[in-house]
């Protein structure tokens, strides 16, 4: 087989193999574990770089492996998968650096990093999945790989959070599985093809297609945390900060959102889905989630929980963009896949820094933290402003395209109020944090100061990752029109989707 047929498989293996090796390492072999982690992440970045170049030059990358009659494991690179793979790979590298610093002294690091690598493997696998069957496999693998990460601390709360997480995700997984098998019985193997493949099916099957759509969206909606399927997400906050960052910014919620995008664009085709009348309910569910998540975030004093409800809200922008027919809304939804990831991971890194350095877990403890930890707080502020949608941070671009798309599709009457309300609510729960951090003076000692301020405000490996991702979020907004920017990829995807 040629290199082109191996590249997608190699990208998946580049985190799988280090992960497997890490499991076998002794707790003490810190250096070897770190080199495996970083080596795998850098190698993956290199391979993804080659893939981006190749996809741009119209190379076809496809690895195929037959598992059973009619069931092929297919890894395939297209514009959408490249977008998600690049995001995951980049953020994996950053999160690995962060996690090495964060977990410096805690027990069971081999187990943690092993499952962490498996988690990335599953994410990359579902990003590259070339058909629904492969997607389902990696979707379930992701559930399995993240369970030990949520349960990592082994405390009763962690075990409980992990159990709730599983109840939701496994039930969702079963629904998705039933939907996919049903669809495959009707239409044969379902490869992801831009514009969808179902519009040729006879009209008498259309009601069944509606039910299948419902099953699949319910299954995917659990991970995408669409109300009322979001209950696991705040509970999963018991996980260590790098896990929360990865779970909430990249892997799990994005897997759900990415799945929704795939099903609508590459299985049904957005125009066919609209014709079947499936998009309106999806859009309404997304709109409800956007507002509900923001309202709940307002009343959370625990910083990570506030961020979690914010995630519930923000991820549904992607579903909203998907549910609006028209290329501009598509661009907004798809680009938010990247933008939300970069911004939210920044916020979680910063929250982890406050907890690890000063023992701050609550918003009410953050008075004056900006002076003690300026770098972290600056990164946090950029992320928060982006979430609100303040230009020039990336979040503004997403909201702009979503709003324009709604106008173009004639849905401005209800989408615009949702966007405005959500942005106001975003401001209402983020700005007070920024105000406390920058403008209030700290009342007394920090709750539990563990890392003293020396040259840097905290460990370097904790400080640099949020700063890096904050800069990325800024750059994605400032240079949105530059070649290879997330926006440009999203435009490419939208152009291909609506070409037919």
């Amino acid at each position: 087989m040629s290199f082109d047929a191996w590249l997608p498989a190699l990208i998946v293996l580049s985190s799988l193999l280090p992960g497997v090796l890490i499991f076998t390492l002794r707790e003490g072999s810190h250096r070897l574990r770190t080199s495996l982690n970083l080596g795998g992440a850098l190698l993956k970045l290199l391979l993804v770089g080659i893939m981006i170049w190749g996809v741009f030059h119209e190379h076809v990358y496809e690895s195929r492996w037959s598992l059973a009659p009619g069931l092929d494991l297919v890894l395939h690179a297209d514009a959408l998968s490249v977008l998600f793979v690049s995001l995951s790979t980049l953020l994996w590298l950053v999160t690995t650096v962060y996690a090495i610093g964060y977990l410096e002294t805690s027990p069971h690091r081999s187990r943690f990093f092993g499952f962490f690598s498996l988690c990335v493997t599953a994410t990359v696998g579902l990003a590259l999945a070339g058909n629904l069957f492969t997607f389902v496999i990696f979707y379930e693998l992701l559930t399995l790989a993240t369970y030990p990460l949520v349960a990592h601390r082994g405390t009763p709360e962690a075990i409980r959070g992990a159990r709730i997480y599983l109840k939701y995700t496994l039930s969702g997984g079963v629904l998705l599985l039933f939907g996919v098998i049903w669809l495959q019985v009707l239409a044969g193997p379902i490869a992801f093809v831009q514009g969808g493949i179902l519009s040729d099916l006879p009209a008498e099957l259309h009601p069944q297609l509606g039910w299948i759509f419902l099953l699949m969206i319910l299954g995917l909606g659990v991970k995408a945390a669409i109300v009322p399927l979001h209950g696991w997400l705040p509970q999963a906050m018991v996980a260590p900060a790098p896990v929360s960052a990865l779970l909430h910014a990249v892997a799990v919620v994005k897997a759900g959102a990415f799945g929704i995008v795939r099903v609508v664009y590459d299985v049904y085709g957005v125009e066919f889905a609209a014709e079947l009348g499936l998009l309106t309910s999806l859009g309404l569910a997304a709109a409800v989630t956007i507002v509900y998540g923001s309202v709940r975030a307002l009343s959370q004093d625990n910083l990570k929980k506030r961020l979690a409800y914010s995630t519930v809200s923000q991820v549904s922008y992607i579903a909203l963009g998907t549910a609006i027919l028209g290329p501009i809304a598509t661009i907004g939804g798809v680009v938010h896949l990247v933008h939300q990831g970069v911004m939210k991971i920044t916020l979680f890194f910063a929250a982890g820094n406050y907890a690890e350095t000063l023992g701050i877990h609550k918003v009410s403890e953050m008075d004056g933290v900006g002076r003690r930890m300026p770098g972290t707080t600056l990164a946090f502020s950029i992320g928060a402003l982006g979430m609100i949608g303040v230009p020039p941070v990336a979040g503004f671009v997403s909201k702009w395209y979503l709003g324009l798309g709604a106008v173009e599709a004639g849905l401005a009457s209800w989408v615009l109020p949702v966007l405005v309300a959500s942005s106001l609510l975003n401001a209402a729960y983020f700005l007070p944090i920024l105000y406390r951090a920058w403008f209030r003076t700290s009342a007394s000692d920090w709750p539990h100061e563990q890392i003293p301020a020396r040259r840097l405000e905290t460990h370097g490996s904790l400080l640099w990752p949020p700063v890096m991702t904050a800069l990325l979020a800024l750059a994605a907004g400032l240079f949105a029109a530059a070649p290879y920017s997330p926006l440009e990829w999203a435009e490419l995807i939208a152009a291909r989707e609506y070409r037919q």
């Binding site: 002794r26 598992l67 069971h108 496999i137 693998l141 039930s171 079963v174």
Partner: protein
């Protein structure tokens, strides 16, 4: 290459005899003979894949009086499963038994059981099947009693007596078939058998005898105490292989000689019993307080899944559906064989380490026994039927088949069964992940942990990713409607 059929039976048999004569070398003899029979099983499957079904008449005697052996894709796959599990469990056993006397008894009975099992998979006529069934039942009951504890003795005796009843019913059916059709050769009978009182009574007697042995609901009550009280390697092979041998016979008989007798109602009934077994077994496993009891109840549920496939295989004229479902069935059976033996072997390690196997008190297991906990997780993934296990592909075929055949009730059963299985597996893992004050250990290399881990990996990765040959091996096996014109 037909010799390999004989070797797969003869090696464990001679090992059993040698282990009596040279008790001190029992470990070595045992390992050598199971490795040899694994090589023979590999040769068998290689040849079957290459040249199609194999037959061999022992000593050149013609079938009828002589003993004939036969291997097709179905029996070759199960033979390989058995040889593979046997090797892993044998390596484990070399470290498991601490008393010399117990170890020597174990090896003799163990190798005897293995040769009976292999002979059963390869037998081409009904009387040999009866003999192998009896040998299997006797050696299995004796192995169950190995610990000599009261619960074990009681369970073994009940197991033995019910097994005897089952094989008597089987023998009665064999006698009826010989009276009616004058042959015991399976393929001859397949051509001669036609619907009628003799055929139906024989089928009823033989099938109900086998249902006792495979522990299908409501004939399952003997299984949990027997499997939960036997020594770990014995439980592994009882749950993974011995009950499956009886199921194999049900499948073989209804695919071949009884194919012309099958009616939709009958097959549907077997499917419904399987469905009840899935729900009942999983529910009991969820309630179980001990790890080995959990594993035993989960076996009841898994046997139920195998019966759930029967309506898709025996009552369909769609050749593609039938072939897909047969492959799915085999894959479920193979995955369960590997996963359940992994689970029991791991449970044995947990029991030896903690001194008990009460699930609620297993906190800290993940810290103290990481490799074994990982094995439990792998086995659990396979039992739930999550990817990348072979059972995922099996369940996929089951669901797809049920949708195609419009058997909607089956979807509910698979849904409930999978969620219940997830419930009992993750209840166990939740306790195992609980923090306790054990000294943390990295992966421990043990003669007990490694074989269990290997089986767990085989159930998930090997069968999940490399199982396409299963379908090609089963191609052409017993076309729809039996071989009768």
């Amino acid at each position: 290459m037909t010799d390999s059929l004989v070797w797969s039976i003869a090696l464990p048999l001679s090992g059993a005899i040698l282990s009596v004569l040279l008790p001190r070398a029992a470990n070595g003899i045992g390992l050598a003979s199971v490795l040899g029979s694994l090589a023979a099983a590999l040769a068998v499957i290689w040849t079957v894949a290459d040249q199609g079904p194999l037959t061999y008449a022992i000593g050149g005697w013609t079938p009828g009086l002589g003993i004939a052996l036969r291997a097709d894709g179905l029996s070759a796959l199960l033979l390989l499963l058995s040889a593979l599990v046997a090797v892993a469990a044998s390596v484990y056993a070399t470290a498991y038994f601490r008393q010399a006397e117990q170890r020597q008894r174990f090896w003799t009975l163990w190798l005897l059981l293995l040769s009976a099992l292999h002979a059963l998979f390869l037998a081409a006529d009904l009387f040999n099947l009866y003999v192998t069934l009896e040998l299997l039942g006797l050696s299995a009951a004796a192995l169950t009693a190995l610990s000599g504890q009261r619960e074990a003795l009681e369970a073994a005796l009940r197991y033995l007596l019910l097994g005897l009843l089952g094989s008597l019913a089987f023998l009665a059916g064999v006698a009826l078939l010989y009276t009616g059709y004058g042959s015991l050769d399976i393929s001859t009978l397949t051509h001669r058998l036609s619907p009628g009182l003799t055929g139906w009574s024989a089928a009823a007697l033989m099938t109900s005898g086998l249902l006792i042995k495979t522990a299908l609901f409501p004939l399952h009550f003997w299984l949990p105490p027997a499997h939960a009280n036997a020594p770990a390697p014995v439980s592994a092979i009882l749950s993974a292989l011995v009950v499956k041998a009886a199921f194999y016979l049900v499948l073989r008989l209804w695919l071949e000689p009884f194919a012309s007798l099958s009616t939709p109602e009958l097959v549907q009934m077997l499917g419904v019993l399987g469905a009840i077994a899935v729900i009942w077994g999983s529910w009991q496993a969820l309630q179980a307080e001990r790890l080995k009891l959990l594993a035993a109840y989960s076996t009841l549920a898994q046997i139920g899944y195998l019966f759930l496939f029967l309506p898709l295989i025996l009552e369909t004229s769609d050749e593609t559906l039938r072939h897909a479902a047969l492959g799915g069935l085999l894959l479920m059976a193979l995955t369960h064989g590997l996963a359940k033996s992994a689970l029991f072997l791991a449970a044995g390690v947990v029991q030896q380490h903690a001194g008990h196997d009460r699930i609620a008190e297993l906190r800290g297991t993940a810290q103290a026994l990481p490799a074994t906990t990982f094995t439990l997780a792998l086995a659990g993934v396979a039992l739930i039927g999550l990817p990348p296990s072979g059972a995922f592909l099996g369940k996929w075929q089951l669901i797809a088949g049920a949708l195609q055949a419009e058997l909607w009730w089956m979807l509910g059963v698979v849904l409930a069964g999978s969620l219940l299985a997830a419930g009992y597996v993750f209840r166990l893992l939740g306790h195992a992940f609980g923090q306790a004050r054990y000294p943390a250990r990295s992966l421990s290399i043990g003669r007990q942990e490694i074989p269990a881990l290997g089986l767990g990996l085989a159930a998930t990765l090997l069968l999940g990713l490399f199982s396409a040959p299963v379908w090609s091996l089963l191609a052409g096996l017993a076309p729809a409607g039996g071989l009768n014109p």
